[in-house]
């Protein structure tokens, strides 16, 4: 059962086709990779899925608990509420806020007390804030950030900032998590820890994950299926084994064979 189906997704910036006719289907519980050379349009696809860009044409259908809904053209906050969360390639934490506030903000969509209660700090405020803090702390502990809860986000080391991005995305209670280069800038030891973490949160939170990554050790190890994007179009799709041996993929990454190019 597909949780996300993308049909003929296209985005052009002026005359440039950043993404054209992308078809994708992700089943519930799958862990799918999206790879491709630099500038292939991977992040643009993420931005289209999460509503930061509006598609020029095509549809994105999201299945939340059996209800299918077209989400193309919705505002990002509406898409987040449906159950689609993401992290950013160039970390976009709330830098000058504390670690726990970063997570509490992401949990705001489930807060029920109203403005009046926030003005006067009525009992519903204290009750829900305590619950919110407790849940945020739980999440931080899972990602080994519990002891840093009062630290400013900008003061965390790089690897922990990446972890906080994941914690913040999980706080929105997603069904589908989009990770944009989670291992960027990490050393091999950190990457292998991250690989374990991703598999673990997937089980723990019952998630479907789509991830963009350049680190092939990570992609080949944990992805069940891979889509390869080049110049905005999907050039291959399959299991890691199939992708490794796919001629078009090798060409996209390494360039065409010189002999062929001469013809």
């Amino acid at each position: 059962m597909p949780i996300l189906s993308v049909k003929k997704l296209t985005k052009s910036f002026g005359g440039l086709m950043a993404v054209s006719n992308v078809n994708m289907e992700i089943n519930k519980g799958e862990l799918v990779g999206l790879i491709g050379p630099n500038g292939a349009g991977k992040t643009t696809v993420f931005n289209l899925l999460t509503g930061i860009y509006e598609p020029s044409s095509g549809t994105v259908t999201f299945d939340s608990n059996g209800v299918k809904k077209d989400i193309q053209g919705l505002k990002p906050h509406a898409i987040s509420k449906i159950g689609l969360a993401r992290t950013f390639q160039n970390i976009r934490l709330f830098k000058d806020l504390t670690v726990i506030d970063n997570v509490r903000i992401a949990m705001h969509q489930n807060v029920k007390y109203g403005l009046i209660s926030s003005f006067l700090h009525l009992p519903s405020y204290s009750r829900e804030e305590a619950l919110l803090t407790e849940k945020s702390l739980e999440l931080l502990k899972i990602l080994k950030l519990g002891h840093k809860k009062d630290e400013l986000a900008k003061n965390l080391p790089y690897g922990e900032q990446r972890h906080l991005e994941i914690a913040r995305a999980l706080a929105t209670k997603p069904a589908l998590l989009l990770l944009d280069e989670p291992a960027a800038g990490m050393n091999p030891a950190e990457t292998s820890q991250l690989t374990e973490l991703i598999s673990w949160i997937r089980k723990e939170f019952d998630l479907t994950i789509l991830l963009i990554e350049h680190d092939m050790s990570l992609v080949m190890k944990i992805c069940e299926r891979i889509y390869v994007l080049d110049y905005g179009t999907v050039i291959a799709e399959g299991t890691p084994e199939e992708i490794k041996n796919n001629k078009r993929v090798i060409e996209a990454y390494l360039g065409e064979d010189l002999n062929n190019a001469g013809d």
């Binding site: 709330f94 806020l97 705001h108 969509q109 913040r168 929105t172």
Partner: protein, 323 residues
Amino acid sequence: MKKTAKSNLAIKLVSLVSTFAIIQLLIYLDIINDYLQATLATICINIILAVSLNLITGFTGQFSLGHAGFMSIGAYTCALITLRNPTIPGFILGVLSGAVAAALVGAIVGLPTLRLRGDYLAIATLGMSEIIRIVFLNLDEITNGAAGLQDIPQFTNWMWLFIYTTGTVLIISNFIKSSHGRACISIREDEIAAEAMGISSTKYKVTAFTIGAFFAGIAGALYASTFNFIDPKIFGFSKSIDVLVIVVLGGLGSISGSIIAAVLLGIITTYLQAFANIQMILYSVLLIIIMIFRPQGLMGSKEISLSVFSKLGDSLKSKKGRV
């Protein structure tokens, strides 16, 4: 934990009541004379204006130059009501209607203009404020045009100023500490990330703008009732700038900073009256000096809280211990 929360509350209450009582006593003893009472009123009104603008500009990150417009709506509404009904209930009704009217205009204006960012938003809000001023100028029948409204009944005294000022500060700082307040701050920090985390940026920008306009309306109403005369000139562009100066000077994103800056500037202006002809030059030089040495404002984005005092106490104790 609960015990410290309770004792903190007690300390806050005691300090509020004693502030009120001391100043009331000074007024009674005529140490704070009529002239200084006018300064006191200006300071309170400026605190309300600065704290409410800080919510919009400092916490939500929306650069607004329209605060004088909202203030004028509160002032005219309250003046017109108390002129027809010069009683205490009439005054209370006047202040509240002024605030609600300003909030309504804030919401209506906010919806289309808050799509703009940075300097574009500043220009749009400036335009809005000028439109409001021109409307008041030309509604001769109701507002008496350029001549303004005279003999507005004077109800504002230290008690009312104190109630409205502390009320504003408490409500806005409570809001900042709530989940809704954090949603506003997240928009300032990174609007795209905030949206991706499920925060509707339009909703919270308009909310902050409306709350800010509401309290600017209260400030305007208090102004009308303190100085018993208003005309459209008072609420021009320069009034919005005055408020912005207080906010920036105190520190964007610091409520205690706004309060300190409003008090400080109020006192400085009063004492500079002695050098009437170079008053504005001294004032400007002072602002430039402060901005050079504290570009983040007096308080930055920090707040003064009781924990600061207890930390101070601890460090003093440890120093004594070492000696």
